[in-house]
C-alpha cells in the first residue's frame, strides 16, 4: 500500500484522497480547517459552455484542462458522480450541456453538474415557477430575485410569503439552522402544514437551500409529497447547505476508502528528502511541536489565496505556504486587483505552475520534485470565478494528480 499524503481537505483534497484510497493507497489527509465547499453553491462548475475539444482549444496551453485533456476531464466527472452517488447524493447534468440555474440574486448561472434538488430548478424548460420568501430568514431575497429574474424574461409567476411557525427566536437563523430543523419530521410537518394554504395555484416553487442537512433527500421528497408541488433549491449566503452536504458525502467516501483525516494540522514544511529531487513528507506544526508525516507521494491541495495555499504579502510577494514553491504572480501590488469586483482579477490567476504530470515545475518547465504534485485552487493560470471553472479544475486536477502519483 503506497503511502500518499494529501494536504488540504477542500473539494480537491477530499476527492484526491478518496480516489487514492479507492485505488489501494494508504492515504493521510492533513488539513488546517474547512473551506471552499462550505461557501460554495454545491455545484460543479466546469466551464460556462459545454465541454468539447473546440472549447478546450480556446484555453491557454498551460490551463489545467489542457494539461488534462478532454478524456481525463470526462473521466474525473464520472468518478465524481459515482463516488457521491454511493453516498446517496445524486448529481445531474452532463458534459455536453450546461444547466442554467436561477441564483439567489435573480441572475442566472451556468453549471455542469448540480445536485438533484437544484437541477430541478433548471431554467431550460421555461416552465413557470414561484419563489418562496421565508419569514424571518434574512439570507434569501425572494422579491429581489424575482424582480431581477422577470426583468431578464424568466417565467416567475410570483413570490409566496411562507410563515415559519415554531421557529426558535433567540437569534437570527442561518441556512444550516433551518436545514437542521427540516431534518426533524415533527417540525417539518408542522411547518409544511402552515405552508399549504399559501400555495394555492403554485405548481413549482423555488426555495432557499434549506431542505434538510443530514437527511436532505428524504426531507425534500417528503416536503413535495406533503405540499403536492414540485420544489427546487437555490443556494444562498454561507454557510452553504448544499456545500455541506457535498462535503459530508466526500468525507464519508474518504473514510470508507480508509483515508486517515487529521484536522487542525498546519503544514509548514518539508520532511527531509531521502534523495535529491524528492520529498519525504510534510511537517505539521501543532501545539505540542512539529509532527512529521511521511509518504511516498505528496499531493498539495491547499487552495489559492482565499484558504491559505498562497499567501499574498504587503511587499508584493506571493508565497506558496507549505514548500515555498515558485509562484507565478506579478510583483506590483497595485496591479493585483481590478477596479471592479465583477471584472477579471489578476490575482485570481496567481498560483503554482504545473506540467503535464501535475508536478510543480520551475521556469524551464522541469518538475521540481518527482513525487510532489499540486492540484485545485493552488494552480496558476486562470480566473475561475470569471471562467466558471472552479470545481471542474478541482476535480480534474485532483484525479490527474492521483493518477500520476500512483503511477
Amino acid at each position: 500500500m503506497t503511502p500518499v499524503l494529501v494536504v488540504g481537505a477542500g473539494l480537491t483534497g477530499l476527492f484526491a484522497a478518496a480516489l487514492a484510497g479507492r485505488r489501494g493507497a494508504r492515504v493521510t489527509l492533513l488539513t488546517e480547517g474547512r473551506g471552499g465547499l462550505e461557501i460554495s453553491h454545491g455545484c460543479i462548475d466546469v466551464l460556462a459552455s459545454p465541454l468539447s475539444s473546440v472549447e478546450l482549444a480556446r484555453l491557454p496551453a498551460t490551463h489545467p484542462y489542457q494539461l488534462a485533456g478532454v478524456e481525463r476531464i470526462h473521466h474525473a466527472l464520472d468518478l465524481f458522480r459515482e463516488i457521491v452517488a454511493e453516498q446517496h447524493l445524486e448529481y445531474r447534468g452532463s458534459a455536453d450541456s450546461t444547466l442554467s440555474l436561477p441564483t439567489a440574486a435573480g441572475h442566472t448561472r451556468s453549471t455542469m453538474l448540480a445536485p438533484l434538488a437544484q437541477s430541478a430548478g433548471a431554467l431550460g424548460s421555461q416552465e413557470p415557477f414561484h419563489l418562496a420568501a421565508l419569514d424571518h430568514f434574512r439570507d434569501f431575497a425572494a422579491d429581489y430575485a424575482a424582480a431581477r429574474l422577470r426583468r431578464s424574461g424568466m417565467p416567475v409567476d410570483g413570490v409566496v410569503r411562507l410563515p415559519m411557525p415554531n421557529l426558535p427566536l433567540n437569534r437570527d437563523l442561518y441556512s444550516t439552522d433551518l436545514a437542521r430543523l427540516f431534518d426533524q419530521p415533527a417540525w417539518r410537518s408542522e411547518t409544511l402544514r402552515a405552508w399549504r394554504p399559501r400555495l394555492a395555484g403554485v405548481r413549482r416553487l423555488g426555495l432557499p437551500a434549506v431542505l434538510g442537512l443530514a437527511h436532505s433527500e428524504s426531507a425534500r421528497l417528503k416536503a413535495e409529497e406533503h405540499l403536492g408541488i414540485r420544489l427546487f433549491e437555490i443556494p444562498t449566503l454561507p454557510p452553504s447547505v448544499p456545500g455541506l452536504r457535498l462535503e459530508r458525502a466526500l468525507r464519508h467516501a474518504a473514510f470508507a476508502a480508509g483515508v486517515r483525516l487529521i484536522e487542525g494540522a498546519h503544514a509548514v514544511g518539508l520532511v527531509e528528502a531521502t534523495y535529491p529531487g524528492s520529498v519525504s513528507g510534510v511537517v505539521s506544526q501543532t501545539a505540542g511541536g512539529p509532527r512529521p508525516y511521511r509518504a511516498d507521494a505528496v499531493i498539495l491541495a491547499t487552495g489559492g489565496l482565499l484558504h491559505g495555499g498562497l499567501l499574498a504579502r504587503a511587499r508584493g510577494t506571493v508565497q506558496e505556504s507549505v514548500f515555498d514553491l515558485p509562484v507565478a504572480h506579478t510583483s506590483e501590488r497595485d496591479d493585483w486587483t481590478a477596479d471592479s469586483p465583477f471584472a477579471t482579477q489578476p490575482y485570481a490567476s496567481f498560483g503554482v505552475r504545473v506540467g503535464g504530470g501535475f508536478r510543480p515545475v520551475d521556469m524551464q518547465a522541469r518538475p521540481l520534485f518527482d513525487n510532489l504534485f499540486a492540484a485545485g485552487g493552488l494552480l496558476a493560470g486562470c480566473d475561475r470565478s470569471r471562467e466558471g471553472s472552479r470545481q471542474g479544475i478541482d476535480l480534474v486536477s485532483a484525479a490527474c494528480a492521483v493518477e500520476e502519483a500512483l503511477r
Binding site: 473551506g35 462550505e38 444550516t176 486517515r260 484536522e263 494540522a265 501545539a287 509532527r291 484558504h307 491559505g308
Partner: protein, 406 residues
C-alpha cells in the same frame, strides 16, 4: 490584547465555524462562535463591562478553532471572554467546587462507599440540583477506595533521574484527577503497556491540570496549578522524559491551554508543551514498530469510537483508531458527531444540561443503533457522560488494546 484576541483580525465572517459548532446546532440561545468570538471581540473594551452574556453558552469544545481556515483562535477568544464574564458576574459556589476535582477526589476517596451511595440516590441528587445546581441526571463517576498513586508507589519518582544515555525511551506518566481518583486501573494499564513496550516509566509529582478551573473562569487559580505542573514536569522533560497522558484533555492543557489561553510565557512552559503527548499519539510516534511486533488476540466485538473534541484539538488526528483497526475481530465505527455534549463540566450544570444532552443526541442515537457492544473515547469526562446516556460501557482505547494484548 491577548494573542487569541489579536487573531480576531483574521476573521472573514464566512460562518464555517458557526456551521460546525455543536452548541449553536443545539440551541438558539447561543449565537454561534463567530458571533461571540471575533465579531463581539471588536465590541469588548478593556475597562467597560462586557456587553454580551450569550458567550456563556459556549462549551469550550474547540471545534470552531479547528475548522477555521483562516487561523482565528475562535475557541480561545471565547474561553477568555467567558472567563471575563464569570469574573464580572461572579462565580457561583458550584463552579468553584466542580472545578476542583482534585479536592473532590481527596475528600471523596476516604469516604468512597458513602459518597458513592449518596451520589447514586435520587433524593440526594435532587437536593444537589436545588442547592448547588448540578443537574440530577448528570452522570457522575464513582469514587474509588484507593488512588492510582497509592496503588503504584513503586513508580512514583519525586525528581528526575539523569539520563545515562542507554537509549531507553523514558516516560513520565501524567495521570490527571480522572485516573487518580476514579479510574486507577487505567493508569495501571498505561504503565504496564509502556513498560511492556520497553519504556522506562515513572510517575512524577503533579497536580490537577487546572482545565476545569480555566473552563469556569478561575484563571488565577488555574495559573497557580499550571505553574506547579510546569515546574515539576519541565524538569522531567529536561531530563529527556516524555510526558505522556491518557486523559487527552489534560494533555491538551499542558500542550496548548497553558500558553495560549492562560498566557503563561516561559522556557519551562515551552519545554513541557513540546514534550507532552497523548497516549496513542506517543505510541504512533515512538513505539509503533514495537507495538506491531506484539501479537494481538481476537476481540470479537462491535464498537463505536467517538474521538473527543479535545483530542481533535491536538491536531494529530485520531491515532488510536489505527491501532484499534489492527485488532482482529473488532469492528470499529467512527462517530459522526463533533461533540458528545459534556465538554468537561458544562453538561453537569443544571442550566446547561438540556443543551448538552441535545448536543450529544446525534451520538446517542448512533449508539442506540443497537449493534454496539461498547463505545470508545479518550477522555474520561466524555466516557462518564456517554455511559450515562447511551447505557453502554465506554472504554478508553487503551482498555481495548489491553484486551487484545492479553
Amino acid at each position: 490584547m491577548s494573542q487569541p484576541a489579536l487573531s480576531a483580525d483574521l476573521c472573514l465572517k464566512c460562518n464555517i465555524c458557526t456551521a460546525a459548532c455543536p452548541v449553536a446546532a443545539a440551541t438558539d440561545l447561543f449565537p454561534g462562535p463567530k458571533a461571540v468570538g471575533p465579531q463581539a471581540q471588536r465590541y469588548r473594551h478593556p475597562s467597560l463591562p462586557l456587553p454580551d452574556l450569550s458567550v456563556g453558552w459556549c462549551s469550550g469544545c474547540g471545534t470552531c478553532s479547528r475548522v477555521c481556515p483562516h487561523g482565528v483562535a475562535v475557541a480561545e477568544i471565547n474561553i477568555q471572554a467567558k472567563a471575563r464574564l464569570a469574573r464580572e458576574t461572579g462565580i457561583p459556589l458550584r463552579d468553584q467546587v466542580i472545578s476542583r476535582p482534585d479536592l473532590l477526589g481527596r475528600f471523596g476517596t476516604p469516604l468512597a462507599p458513602l459518597a458513592n451511595l449518596a451520589l447514586s440516590a435520587m433524593p440526594v441528587r435532587w437536593l444537589m440540583e436545588r442547592i448547588i445546581k448540578i443537574h440530577r441526571h448528570a452522570p457522575m463517576p464513582a469514587f474509588r477506595t484507593r488512588t492510582f498513586r497509592s496503588l503504584r508507589r513503586a513508580e512514583l519518582l519525586s525528581k528526575p533521574d539523569p539520563d545515562v544515555g542507554t537509549g531507553v525511551i523514558r516516560v513520565a506518566y501524567f495521570h490527571g484527577c480522572g485516573t487518580n481518583y476514579y479510574e486507577p486501573e487505567l493508569g495501571g494499564m498505561a504503565l504496564d503497556v509502556l513498560q511492556r513496550l520497553g519504556c522506562e516509566v515513572v510517575v512524577p509529582p503533579q497536580g490537577c491540570c487546572g482545565l476545569p478551573l480555566q473552563s469556569n473562569g478561575l484563571f488565577d487559580a488555574a495559573r497557580a496549578y499550571a505553574a506547579r505542573n510546569i515546574r515539576s514536569l519541565s524538569a522531567f522533560a529536561r531530563a529527556n522524559y516524555h510526558i505522556v497522558g491518557t486523559s487527552t484533555s489534560c494533555v491538551l492543557s499542558l500542550k496548548h491551554d497553558y500558553r495560549t489561553i492562560l498566557g503563561i510565557q516561559s522556557e519551562e512552559a515551552d519545554l513541557l508543551a513540546e514534550n507532552a503527548y497523548d497516549f496513542f499519539e506517543f505510541l504512533a510516534l515512538y513505539l509503533d514498530d514495537r507495538l506491531e511486533a506484539l501479537p494481538l488476540r481476537q476481540v470479537e466485538a462491535r464498537a463505536l469510537y467517538h474521538p473527543p473534541c479535545q483530542l481533535k484539538a491536538h491536531g494529530v488526528g485520531t491515532p488510536a483508531l489505527a491501532v484499534l483497526q489492527r485488532i482482529p475481530g473488532l469492528t470499529v465505527d467512527l462517530s459522526d458527531s463533533e461533540c458528545c455534549g459534556v465538554a468537561g463540566t458544562y453538561g453537569l450544570k443544571a442550566e446547561k444540561y438540556a443543551v448538552a444532552r441535545t448536543v450529544g443526541s446525534g451520538l446517542f442515537d448512533q449508539a442506540a443503533d443497537g449493534r454496539y457492544d461498547f463505545l470508545i473515547s479518550d477522555s474520561e469526562t466524555c466516557r462518564w457522560w456517554m455511559a450515562g446516556h447511551a447505557r453502554l460501557p465506554v472504554l478508553h482505547p487503551l482498555e481495548v488494546l489491553v484486551r487484545a494484548l492479553g
